[in-house]
Symmetry: C2
Subunit: 473 residues, 2 copies
């Protein structure tokens, strides 16, 4: 499978960069087979993959062509700034999403789960087995509050690729990114405090804020540029904001990666108003571009950025291996970790450290980034094809979630009976807001390798949206 | 090793129950060898073990005898009730304890770590290796917020032995007992609220309360009967207490197991004042008596007891597998779990579930209980021998920590230079209090199999205490 994806990727990015103009006939299957030393079948698979993504079209008895240029789908609109902070809305619908995650037989387009079936994860399985055997006793013993030293050493190396420097001793391994985020909020905020947060934003973060009794100031975000600095400045100017929470790389759910000048602006604002920043970098290694975009922490001059991350999206969520680089808040973070759950389970940490140390991580990331990017294109194409006119689609720069915006009057919960009946799960837009915004939006995951059933499900959703819109006209 | 411990245990409990009077000659090595079908060496080992514990004495060329009856060592005194709730003191010394834990070469008498070298844990290692191999992918996938279903099923069975009934669906697996306790506190208390807690108490709990901004009302505890109901009633009557925290079974650090009538009294008080109870049952399975004492939750009529526990003391802390039975607070607990750290790592859960399901747990517990009980006797004997007169010693009914009380004027931190120089770690008494009480106390662990170096360390501490006391007279 890997070779045709490789080829599809090469061709795809050439087309996207305009090396082949609209209407141009692409190299023949035979030519590419010779040029790349792959089988005819592999080339055909690559072309079919690109066709699904709307990047090429077949002309009978003639070959493959670049289709006529189409306007890109419209991006989701940026919301209007709120006037004041608010409490976080109810938890009920998040619980539904979590419940759905464990239902088998359902087509899971809702959950934020990576594809863990990739063969590039096999060395990790081997490490788990080996360390289960070899380090059984050691891992039972192991009880370091900061996390396994060998893992922190590897994390310190990964940090360099993300543009920042952190000594292994300044890192804390956490039970997933969720624990890191939860510690960060509790370090910085008391109940009643205000947090400014890019909106829409990860539902788990919303629930952390709710549990902490914190008020939320949702800052509208541009689908390509991220958090509105203008709206943020207004909020900082008028309210005693205690922390800013952003996901600058391959954000969830919109998928933007903030451009450099925006990041600088964000850091300057934080410095000017002396507010710390909670950075969620969980998707940083899944940004489609290479080398990966820097973490915001790379611009941090005075330790005000608490970076939170994990391997839940890049490797597997069941490992529960996350970390934080808490900057100047290290002591408080370690104490919070101790009181919150104690050390993180040792065995998965040891196995991940081995996987990283042996150099398996880059190959795995390369493959996943390719898969997620190509499937983004394909899912975008499906949505264009099957959803009614007026549908807006995000254009994520990393990760594996696609944000879809329907006409404002639409409520995605109107789809619930159809979804239940057909065994399809989506993530409703309103769980990505503190106040039930985005009821006309949904997030679809494009992580798992697509099958005909995936296309059927997207089609089924799109048609149902159309029917409901039509019937209410 | 197991056979002589078996025999020592049988003989030891006969002597303790008075079946052999003081001065009586015990059965010869040859007789016991024939009677129990064990080697002469095994019998000799058993007798030597009992001798260390002061339960038998050798008379040259005559055999083994029951020594003349001695008065039991005096128990620690019960403290005086506080007049008002207070904030929890600083974290510095707890961090020192945690730092010491990771120093190698140190004789660890301070930490609350079980013996993880027992051969009865081998099936668990095997399960970790097997599941690492077999369930690698499954465990990567696995992401159930409540915890692995197979484990919850086993936990539901264990609950029956602890005297309460809880469906697998009403349990939540947590990342150690620490996370369960932390969730419980945050469910029940807002900053500024008051928690009544048995004193002395587990330092991790103190730190949770500190982090939560909760005020603490320390209730004195009897070294055999546990929390003073009289002092508790006074506190409940005068202050708006939001939760009661107790460890009714093999408490840490005192080691008491509350008698039945006290438990009933406690539940009645909680009902009368309508206050929930956070029960820490982490040592419940390590109570020396068999069958194990019931959990307090067994008396719970209206779901007001939040039971927290884990396998950190019974199996190994590095697994980070704990659980809670949160009673009527289930929904809140699940939400807290979700926001605090997300699901718990799957692989250790799967391995523990297999270990339990295959029936390895009871044999392991039997062995550990025996080891801990016999070593309690030996360490008690060492303290009687090497510590100055006036030393008071707890008489734990389970677990593996011994509480030692020195004259009131003594400050165990005066031992620090000697401890550091000799590479010995103890737990200072003041970390078991919110307000730095018990500076004249220490907690010694008797978990790991004793070696001559253990005796040397206890002797060294005792002598140093004597020297300091002498020099300050």
């Amino acid at each position: 499978m890997s070779r045709y994806l490789d080829l599809a990727n090469t061709l795809g990015s050439r087309i996207e960069r305009g090396l082949y103009g609209a209407g141009v006939r692409l190299p023949s299957v035979r030519t590419l087979s010779l040029e790349y030393g792959v089988s005819l079948t592999t080339v055909q698979q690559a072309y079919r993959w690109l066709e699904m993504a709307g990047l090429v079209e077949a002309r009978p008895r003639s070959g493959w062509y670049v289709p006529a240029a189409r306007p890109a789908p419209e991006l989701p609109k940026m919301g209007k700034p709120d006037l004041r902070p608010t409490d976080v809305s109810e938890w009920g619908q998040v619980q539904e999403l979590l419940d759905l995650e464990s239902e088998s037989g359902t087509i899971q387009l809702g959950r934020g789960m990576p594809d863990v079936e990739s063969p590039t994860l096999r060395p990790l399985q081997a490490a788990l087995a080996r360390e289960g055997r070899r380090a059984g006793i050691a891992s039972l013993h192991y009880n370091d509050m900061q996390g396994v030293a060998a893992l922190r050493q590897q994390l310190s190396r990964l940090a360099v690729e993300a543009g920042y420097h952190v000594a292994p001793d300044s890192l804390i391994v956490t039970t997933g990114c969720q624990e890191a985020l939860s510690c960060a909020v509790r370090i910085l905020c008391a109940p009643g405090d205000i947090v400014a947060i890019a909106s829409p934003s990860y539902h788990g973060m919303m629930q952390i804020l709710k549990e902490s009794g914190v008020q939320v100031f949702e800052i509208p975000s541009d689908p390509l540029q991220g958090i509105s600095l203008e709206a943020l400045e207004l909020a900082l100017d008028r309210w005693p904001v205690k922390a800013i929470q952003v996901t600058p790389n391959a954000s969830n759910p919109l998928g933007y990666t903030m451009p450099e000048h925006r990041r600088l602006g964000l850091i300057r604002l934080a410095q000017r108003f002396d507010v710390p920043i909670i950075e969620d970098d969980i998707n940083g290694d899944l940004a489609y571009g290479w080398p990966r975009p820097h973490a915001l922490k790379a611009l941090d001059e005075d330790g005000r950025v608490l970076l939170c991350s994990s391997f839940s999206k890049t490797l597997a969520p069941g490992l529960r291996v996350g970390w934080m680089a808490p900057g100047r808040y290290f002591d408080k973070a370690l104490r919070m970790k101790y009181t919150g759950s104690g050390p993180t389970a040792a065995l998965p940490q040891i196995a991940v450290a081995e996987f990283l140390q042996k150099g398996h991580y880059p190959a795995h990331l390369r493959r996943m980034r390719r898969q997620y990017q190509r499937q983004r294109d394909i899912m975008t194409e499906w949505v264009r094809r099957y959803f009614p006119e007026g549908t807006r689609i995000g254009h994520p720069q990393g990760g594996f979630t696609l944000w879809i915006e329907l006409p404002e009057s639409f409520d995605t919960h109107a789809l619930d009976p159809m979804l239940k009946e057909n065994g399809i799960a989506i993530a409703h837009g309103n769980i990505f807001s503190a106040t039930g915004k985005y009821r006309n939006c949904m997030r679809l995951s494009h992580a798992s390798v697509f099958t005909p059933r995936t296309e059927w499900a997207v089609r089924r959703i799109g048609e149902a949206v159309g029917e409901i819109l039509h019937s209410t006209c």
